[in-house]
């Protein structure tokens, strides 16, 4: 190899692209989509056990995100709500009756990381394909990292 680069994704995109990544993660992690509707009432009472965190290096483009839009996924009594903050970042609210705040934070950080992973994968593959590259090989390892080998076909 000629060079090795280490990079951190910046998730700046329209809501449809981000929600696609969320759907992909929900599917692989066994979550079901509860709702993607606007102004949906929370399924849990407001004072339920919950934590909120921001997806790192994220920005949801305003023109593609109407007010009140959100996506909620659920698994084993844990509800994860994705929405856009007034500052434009992607907010993740994790709610669960039986889990500690520390556990809810762990779940939120894991899902956030996986959404960023999916977003980065799809963005990179789309851009490289547009530039004449093709996937030669890809796999997912036991630690949930994605390995892809891409080669120029031009």
């Amino acid at each position: 190899m000629s060079a090795v680069c280490v990079l951190t994704p910046i998730v700046i995109s329209s809501w449809p692209a981000i929600s696609t990544a969320i759907l992909g993660v929900a599917s692989t992690m066994g979550y079901t989509v509860v709702t993607t509707e606007k102004k949906q009432k929370k399924l849990f009472a407001p004072k339920q056990n919950s934590i909120e965190l921001q997806m790192e290096n994220s920005e949801v483009l305003e023109e593609s995100f109407g007010s009140g839009e959100k996506m909620i996924i659920e698994k084993d009594g844990v509800q994860v709500e994705f929405s856009r903050t007034p500052k434009g970042t992607c907010s993740i609210c994790v709610t669960g009756e039986k889990q500690s705040k520390a556990k809810l934070k762990e779940i939120g950080e894991e899902i956030s990381g996986r959404v960023i992973q999916q977003f980065a994968y799809h963005k990179l593959m789309t851009e490289l394909k547009d530039r004449g590259y093709a996937i030669v090989d890809e796999s997912v390892s036991a630690d949930q990292s994605i390995q892809v080998r891409v080669r120029s076909i031009e």
């Binding site: 000629s2 680069c5 080669r151």
Partner: protein
């Protein structure tokens, strides 16, 4: 003739490690720039020995010392 190839690892937190092969010199750096522009934030970039392949301009000056042993 270059034959660019990327070996990409994306961990479960979204961090990427990209190994670029099949190209040398400036063309390799252009591909690294391309990846950076797509992904966003580059934390590190390391050139390997393959980078300094036949395509790069490297000058080597060598001197030979004659030593007389009596």
């Amino acid at each position: 003739m270059s034959n660019p190839e990327f070996n990409i690892t994306i961990d479960k937190k979204g961090k990427l490690k990209v190994e670029i092969s099949g190209v040398q010199g400036e063309e390799c750096m252009q591909l690294a720039d391309l990846i950076k522009n797509i992904i966003g934030q580059e934390e590190s970039r390391e050139k390997t020995s393959e980078y300094y392949g036949p395509g790069s301009h490297v000058q080597i000056k060598a001197t030979v010392q004659n030593k007389h042993h009596s």
